[in-house]
Symmetry: C2
Subunit: 296 residues, 2 copies
């Protein structure tokens, strides 16, 4: 069934996602500050729009895929924002990773205009976006989720309704906390082992076969040992995601002591010029700290 979908944000993630929706037979209205991906999608049949409000006015379903909470806030609440164009019956799905509190605020604002809102952040990265194998964590009303399911099925595979408004963002934050702490654990273990003169390949082998086994060791262990930190998922984005997790921890009064430390690690990744490295590049930072200082 063809749906008219407004798609705002055609970056590394949004561009292939919009492409997949066109391939699934939907009519797209697109908007991005960068003219190049707009031109590409227009060549595939999408219709460019001038403002978020006009995208929403002409669409049955609006999707945003933007870098951070302030971007989503601006695109939704500005004078020419999505909210201005939402009509009763429109479904708005924000697939960006933003704060759960913002997701709740947008859902309330949409409801005031009779529109349904879902928060639906993803994991799986650029490859998942291109191959339509994203995991999608959805928060919002069950009826809206059922309506969104066929569209989301063109974008990802593991699509889970996590709960009410904001629940998708909460589960995404939980995911980013656990991934960050797992990477930090692998990085500290390898740093200790390498400083003590143990073959890091043995560490990956032994730890990967027991209770310490994890997706990070499995998919990135060998590359970490080889100091291959090509992204993957960039450290500056994981830094942003942990800022969201800590803000959620403040809002919902959840103590997150180790997340606090790893947030500082990712801050230092950015400060030290490692923001574009894969998040497993935490190992590179620890290795630098572990290098003995030369006396003058």
């Amino acid at each position: 069934m063809e749906t008219t979908i407004g798609f705002i944000g055609l970056g590394i993630m949004g561009r292939p996602m919009a492409r997949n929706l066109i391939q699934a037979g939907h009519r797209l209205i697109v908007l991005d500050r960068n003219p190049e991906p707009v031109a590409e999608l227009a060549a595939l049949g999408a219709e460019p729009a001038a403002t978020p409000a006009s995208v929403a006015e002409h669409a049955e379903v609006v999707i945003t895929m933007l870098p951070d909470s302030p971007d989503v806030e601006a695109v939704v609440f500005d004078a020419q924002g999505v909210l201005m164009g939402l009509r009763p019956g429109t479904l708005y799905i924000d697939m960006s990773t933003v704060s759960p509190m913002l997701a709740e605020r947008i859902t309330a604002a949409g409801a005031a205009q009779g529109a349904a809102v879902l928060d639906a952040p993803v994991s799986g990265g650029q490859v998942g976006a291109e191959k339509a194998t994203l995991s999608i964590m959805v928060g919002g009303e069950e009826s809206a989720f059922q309506r969104a399911l066929p569209l989301l099925g063109a974008l990802g595979k593991n699509i889970v309704h996590c709960g009410g408004p904001g629940a998708g963002q909460i589960v995404k934050a939980c995911n980013q906390i656990l991934v960050a702490l797992t990477i930090q654990g692998v990085a500290e273990a390898l740093t200790l082992g390498m400083k003590a003169g143990v073959d890091p390949g043995k560490i990956v082998q032994v730890l990967g076969a027991g209770l310490a086994r994890c997706g990070i060791l499995e998919t990135r262990g060998e590359r970490m040992i080889a100091a291959d930190f090509a992204p993957g998922f960039r450290s500056r984005l994981h830094y942003k995601d942990l800022r969201i997790a800590l803000a959620a921890g403040q809002a919902y009064e959840a103590p997150l002591p180790a997340t606090g430390i790893v947030h500082e690690m990712f801050k230092q990744m950015v400060i030290s010029g490692r923001g574009e490295l894969d998040h497993t590049g935490l190992l590179d930072l620890l290795q630098e700290w572990a290098r003995p200082t030369q006396s003058a």
Copy 2:
């Protein structure tokens, strides 16, 4: 081939390990402060001994399985210690989890008497000890490792020669670091999710299917949600293991910032009376911290 094995330390781990060695056809000389497991093993054919020195004097291979570094230090270096009984050609295998620096020291002391020494800590817990499915991380000379392999095969399954003296203890410390940080990550994720009102079952489901997947979520996720913290692996022992990891980090100059935090968490587990809980009980501590204080 029957070997005369001296076995010192018949606790939760050592007792079933000694039993498995007898079942594999070996002759055992045993020693423990507690008369009860000594009596049990004597009934199975083992010969009780009076001191660590006399165990070593009459054995071809000596194995120790003791709670902590000071216990091993005393059993090895005291006046009636293992070292007094080691002869040229004896093989001494310490399977306790102790500091890598102590393992190096014992290996040097053994070599001075012509004895070969291996550090061979295990993971897999009481169940692994009983079912002979332990993972065994071995440090020391290759020739000693080859000699030990048939005996270790009666105790465990995944037996890896990690490197020279102390390397087994280093890899065990690396393992305990990663397991601890993974548990802390799961505990912080669940605490945030539960405080925000999200069904924790959804969190376990979604995180377990992606990059955040890990042995802890897989084997303990559901029990953590159900607040079932029956051990398993006791928090006071993981606290001890992280003390070893931090001491190794000091000795080998490896920065371990998040391990430092989780070491403090396990310290608080013990302080707050949670030392006998499974190490996943970190969630219980965070939950207590997350509970709003009643005003008087």
